[in-house]
């Protein structure tokens, strides 16, 4: 056990912290290289929105805002203040919706994204892997070949195009799904009401389909290449010779072993899937993190963009870490080494 902690756990904890540290530092630096200053953004936006401002009064306002946004001091001081706040779980106020804390807004949007993202990722993971394994196990099957080509093509097509094609096809030309939002206008979200949940599901079909379709091909091709080695492994040939049924071999011998690296890959692609969800939510007007991020981008809301980026870095890092921790449960070889 001690060996396990030293050889397995400690390096992974270090990796986990490195990811978070590097990611967050980069996230801190990049926005500050941008040409715009959040305080000026605020002042200008207010003027553009038609508030009459006396020129002389702008100065006093500027000072007040700089202080409030925590932008005073040298960049190094700001950096340490930043970490200090982060460790306290305080991502600061949203600049665009001052003084609402960024974490509160993310907290509100996150469940929508997760409710969509998690089932979509799981579905595409299961089906992609299943079909991928089947396609290398049954190399002659025509239907699987068609699925493979389709999956591959869709996978490489940008999320935006897949989303817009689905939207146009199934909301405009064949209007069977709603074209915007997570529930109808005028309805209040009520997760205890079955009717509402059904409405929400109806709204989630196309956005989820986008993520599933794009994700599917990746798992498919990954599984196919993993299993193409495994199907010629001795223990597979052996049980084939022993007359085990194809399904049993596929599930217990081929998928069971090939799925392990796929779990690690699952954690790795979460960052990419997140980017996809961002675009998808924009196309479908789905009220999650993606919509929040796009609005923040359009309003130069640095603290919000940063909050979202930090959340997703931490989220993905935690997911990777958890996967690493859970991995020994699936793979006895690691467990006993």
């Amino acid at each position: 056990m001690r060996k396990f902690i030293l050889k397995y756990l400690i390096p992974r904890i270090i990796q986990f912290l490195t990811i978070i540290f590097v990611g967050i530092t980069v996230t801190y630096i990049i926005p500050r290289l941008a040409p715009t200053d959040p305080v000026e953004a605020q002042i200008s936006t207010m003027m553009a929105m038609g508030s009459s401002l006396d020129p002389a009064s702008i100065e006093s306002m500027r000072a007040a805002l700089t202080d409030l946004y925590g932008l005073s001091g040298s960049p190094v001081e700001q950096y340490f203040t930043f970490w200090g706040r982060l460790l306290r779980g305080d991502l600061g106020p949203s600049l665009d919706n001052f003084p609402t804390p960024v974490s509160k807004m993310i907290g509100q949007a996150l469940p929508y994204t997760l409710r969509l993202l998690i089932p979509a990722v799981i579905i595409s993971f299961i089906f992609g892997n299943l079909f991928g394994a089947m396609s290398s196990y049954y190399p002659k099957n025509k239907a699987l070949k068609v699925i493979e080509v389709l999956g591959q093509v869709v996978r490489s097509i940008p999320y935006y195009i897949v989303a817009i094609v689905l939207l146009v096809t199934f909301s405009y030309f064949i209007p069977i799904f709603p074209f915007s939002g997570a529930y109808p206008i005028g309805t209040r979200p009520d997760w205890s009401s079955l009717e509402f949940i059904l409405k929400n599901l109806e709204h989630a079909v196309l956005p989820a389909a986008t993520l599933i379709l794009v994700g599917f091909g990746g798992w498919f091709v990954g599984m196919k290449s993993l299993t193409s080695n495994i199907i010629s492994e001795d223990y597979v040939v052996y049980v084939e010779t022993a007359g085990l049924s194809k399904n049993r071999i596929l599930i217990h011998y081929i998928i069971r072993t090939a799925i392990l690296p796929q779990f690690t890959a699952l954690a790795m692609v979460l960052g990419t899937v997140f980017s996809g969800a961002l675009i998808m939510e924009v196309v479908f007007g789905y009220p999650g993190i993606g919509s929040l991020a796009i609005r923040a981008i359009y309003s130069n809301d640095y603290s919000m963009i940063m909050g979202i980026t930090i959340y997703s870095i931490i989220g993905v890092a935690v997911a990777v870490f958890l996967m690493d921790l859970l991995y020994p449960l699936f793979d006895p070889r690691v467990r006993y080494q």
Partner: protein, 258 residues
């Protein structure tokens, strides 16, 4: 299509050179846009530019991936751990917000070339990991050991002995990388964050959206670039699989029976 762009009767930078909003016809194969451009000819430039971006990105990211993958794989030890930590960090970073911020930063200097460089700088980690693991397995083989015992420097071992084995992987993933970068360009362009005056597959969709092509009934302005993108991706994908089959010794082995 790329070659055709050199024969285009129209300058893609010019608007109102043909009647606008014409549906596809013999004269205008893909119809004309609301800006009075012939969509077919315009898209020949778009495909050319998008492919240029993809290839450039692929080249840059390949160089980085090879350098980092070979170094990490061969040197091992702390250097490997540092490089792979960096690698995993790049994998995990949500790229889109970062690209958007960089788009803000570079503003109109964000042309295709810079975009390719930036995408190249972000597009390497998956491949570097792949190359590293390949090198790790090569390291265990006898010829490496022989070379090590015979005193060949690490650098030359890497270049002479490992690169030839690694290159097939590099080629195999190139097309994926090209597709990825073209896709990123589309995403950024649709958000209006790239060089919008250069015709690309992304800017085609951007301007179509800007002109409300969908509700205006100018469906071909959306359909043509989407179709061309899909055909292009399909073509590149098929190229990818056949190259892969050709290069991958395992597949080849299976095909000829061993």
């Amino acid at each position: 299509m790329i070659l055709l762009s050199y024969n285009s009767p129209y300058d893609p930078g010019k608007s109102f050179v043909v009647p606008w909003d014409l549906p596809p016809s013999q004269e205008h194969l893909f119809g004309t846009t609301s800006r009075g451009q012939d969509l077919f000819w315009w898209l020949t430039f778009a495909v050319r530019n998008s492919l240029f971006l993809g290839v450039l990105t692929a080249i840059i990211s390949r160089i980085i991936a090879i350098l980092i993958g070979l170094t990490a794989g061969y040197r091992g030890g702390w250097l490997d751990r540092v490089l792979m930590s960096l690698n995993d960090t790049f994998v995990v970073l949500p790229l889109l917000p970062i690209l958007i911020l960089l788009g803000f930063l570079l503003r109109d200097r964000m042309n295709l070339f810079y975009l390719a460089v930036i995408l190249g700088l972000f597009g390497w980690p998956f491949d570097a990991r792949l190359i590293r693991s390949q090198v790790l397995s090569l390291k265990e083989r006898s010829f490496t050991r022989t070379a090590v015992y015979s005193g060949t420097s690490a650098f030359w071992i890497t270049i002479n002995e490992h690169l030839p084995f690694v290159l097939p992987i590099v080629f195999a993933t190139t097309i994926n990388n090209i597709l990825w970068s073209i896709g990123m360009e589309v995403t950024l362009s649709v958000l209006g964050l790239s060089d919008l005056t250069t015709p690309t597959l992304g800017t085609a969709l951007f301007w179509a959206n800007q002109h409300g092509a969908l509700v205006a009934g100018v469906w071909w302005w959306i359909a043509a670039p989407a179709l061309v993108t899909i055909v292009l991706f399909l073509g590149l994908y098929l190229l990818f699989t056949s190259i892969n089959e050709f290069i991958d010794p395992r597949t080849r082995l299976r095909l000829i029976g061993g």
